[in-house]
């Protein structure tokens, strides 16, 4: 237990330089490159004097180093600052959009695991048969499909041609979402309110975006699962299980797959940053009001504090997941100690 605590503290401390590096990079890039929030807001026609006044008000006339120190000062107090374009704290749009992104990535991950692991395990069991090759081709092709194109194709087939699923947004137009704002996770909020019709509507809107992410990322999980399964199936305990006369299906899926899943869990952390990148494109394709769209929107407006805030939250998100994965690893594999 002490070891675990030590480990946890070290890991959390290690995320600080990571956030610091990303933040510094973005901070400098934002300010060195052409364009600034004042010009973006006022357009090209405002007199120079007005622009200078506004810049002074926002502190943009100071040297970059001074601005940076100011910003870090706020950050130490866990204050992300105020938007430079709208009259709001940076945290308010972020908290507003974060649940949508988490909901999307979570269901996307579930879909990719749900597709990838069974396919990979099946391919390993039927090694070097036509089905195995078929599944391997699927895995490689799917990995090369651009996420947004997958989204567009699904929209076209299931949304436009068949009309089964909606192609944009988190809810239908007639749903008054203002009565479900407890956590921002619509799935939780609608369940909490006990409104099954709206819950169904929310789930319905999740299907295509989650499937888009799920299919594209499933290729990686097919390959991981297949490779691990092939390794695991060589083990002595598999031979022993077979010798005891346990049916092949049970040997493969119960004895084999459970052990093959352990290395897959450790790979989850790495895949997660792919998932987040895919989520941005999916949000843009499905008009999903999440962090990715917030980032794009504010990048056009050069809203520096919000952009920095979004980057910090993404970095935290990635580190949190990789920490979670490590803990999960220790939980499912008793040999691992920290």
């Amino acid at each position: 237990m002490r070891h675990l605590l030590n480990y946890l503290v070290t890991r959390i401390l290690l995320t600080i330089p990571m956030i610091f590096i990303m933040l510094t990079l973005i901070f400098v890039v934002l300010r060195v490159m052409p364009g600034d929030p004042v010009s973006a807001m006022l357009g090209g026609h405002a007199p120079q004097q007005v622009i200078d006044e506004q810049k002074a008000k926002l502190g943009l006339n100071k040297p970059i180093a001074a601005q940076y120190v100011d910003y870090l000062g706020h950050l130490i107090h866990l204050d992300l600052g105020d938007s430079m374009i709208f009259n709001e704290k940076v945290s308010s749009p972020i908290l507003d959009k974060l649940p949508a992104t988490i909901e999307l990535t979570l269901f996307g991950l579930l879909a990719s695991l749900g597709i990838g692991i069974p396919l990979g395990a099946y391919a390993a069991r039927r090694r070097r048969t036509g089905r195995d090759y078929g599944i391997r081709v699927y895995a490689n092709v799917v990995y090369c499909i651009p996420v947004f194109w997958m989204g567009l194709l699904l929209q076209l087939v299931f949304g436009v041609f068949l009309g089964w699923f909606p192609i944009s947004g988190r809810t239908g137009p007639r749903v008054d979402i203002s009565s479900f704002t407890w956590s921002g996770f619509y799935i939780i909020d609608t369940l909490r309110a006990g409104d099954m019709a709206v819950f169904g509507d929310v789930l319905w809107h999740l299907v295509l975006p989650a499937l888009t992410l799920g299919i594209v990322l499933s290729g990686i999980f097919v390959r991981l699962t297949r490779a691990n399964m092939l390794d695991v199936l060589k083990g002595d305990y598999i031979l022993a299980a077979r010798a005891r006369g346990i049916p092949e299906r049970r040997v493969v899926y119960n004895h084999g797959l459970r052990n093959a899943l352990i290395p897959i869990v450790t790979m989850l952390g790495l895949q997660f940053s792919l998932l987040l990148a895919g989520a941005i494109l999916t949000e843009s394709t499905f008009s999903w009001p999440g962090m990715g769209r917030l980032l794009l929107e504010r990048i056009y407006l050069r809203d520096y504090p919000v952009i920095q805030g979004v980057i910090i939250v993404y970095t935290l998100f990635v580190s949190f997941v990789s920490l979670l994965v490590d803990l999960l690893y220790a939980a499912i594999d008793p040999r691992v100690k920290y």
Binding site: I21, L30, N140, P146, L156, I299
Partner: protein
């Protein structure tokens, strides 16, 4: 790759294209017998790449329309004999846009991958070889960039640099510097302990010589594989950026941009505007992936095992 000097009495081999091609084909046919499946994967990749490369060099051979001709045909007409992939909302020929769009994406992706290799490899070599504080700090920076979603980084750079072919190349290149850095640094760390490096040190070779003549040639084989896989990735990133609307000025035919245009007309069932550019992105990325994986299997079977 040999690092020994050529024996003096051998006639200096001069490079001739014919002999080079002949030895390449000899290598191809001998490797086919040796590797089977992987060889075919690699060849399939090469075929796709060469086909699309031909498209970029001789676009006129493939289509008689211009990608910017707004009077090529009717507005948003479905595929027909005159326009095999139909026309878009501005009456341009979709196939012509697909053919000319190859130049943009292939050029950007290859230039970006090369650029990140040119920056990442020396940094990795130096960092792994020198060690110490320099190595610690650089590794920390690179690891942070690596674990962060690359697309977000590219978005930030592309947005700040503004639209332009060179700018989008830079934005894509930034993302992949850590890939090369990590690979080369890791290899350098292990190669620097090899006996032949120790021998070089013992005969008094300078550090620069050891780095460039002894370590670098041994790193480069793996870099070739990663370069190919990396171009595949860069293709996706370029397409993503221009799909979001952050990369290229209007007027340059580009698959990602065409997709985002097609997205607007998707609800009315205009399927040809999105199907074909997307298919091409996939094919091109698949070509480089297959080449990379085939090469990996042939050059260094243990590389992709992890």
């Amino acid at each position: 790759m040999s690092t020994q000097p050529e024996p003096k009495n051998v006639k200096a081999a001069r490079f001739s294209p014919a002999a080079g091609a002949a030895s390449f084909f000899r290598w191809l046919s001998s490797s086919r017998k040796k590797y089977g499946g992987e060889w075919w994967i690699m060849i399939a990749g090469i075929v796709v790449i060469v086909l699309i490369l031909t498209m970029t060099v001789f676009p006129q051979v493939f289509t008689r329309y211009s990608p910017t001709d707004q009077n090529a045909g009717g507005q948003m007409t479905p595929p027909s004999r005159d326009h095999i992939m139909g026309t878009d909302n501005l009456s341009r020929d979709v196939w012509a846009r697909v053919v000319y769009g190859a130049q943009t994406i292939l050029g950007v992706a290859m230039a970006a991958a090369l650029l990140s290799a040119i920056i990442g490899i020396p940094l990795g070599l130096l960092s792994g070889f020198a060690g110490g504080v320099f190595d610690r700090i650089l590794s920390l920076v690179m690891d942070s960039m690596y674990s962060f979603p690359g697309l977000i980084l590219a978005i930030a750079f592309a947005a700040m640099l503004g639209p332009g072919v060179i700018n989008i190349t830079l934005a894509v290149a930034v993302v992949y510097i850590p890939t090369y850095f990590r690979l080369v640094r890791g290899q350098t760390l292990s190669i620097k302990e090899e006996v032949y490096v120790e021998a070089a040190r013992a005969i008094g070779a300078r550090r620069g010589t050891i780095l460039t003549r002894y370590i670098f040639p041994n790193v480069i084989a793996t870099v070739v594989v990663i370069l190919s896989l990396n171009i595949a990735d860069a293709i996706m990133t370029e397409a993503s950026l221009s799909y979001i609307g952050l990369g290229l000025p209007a007027g340059i035919p580009d698959w990602g941009m065409d997709l985002s245009m097609g997205k607007k007309f998707l609800p009315s069932g205009i399927w040809w505007m999105i199907t074909f550019p997307g298919l091409m992105i996939m094919l091109l990325a698949l070509g480089f992936t297959m080449l990379g994986e085939g090469l990996a299997e042939i050059l260094n079977p243990r590389l992709l095992e992890k």
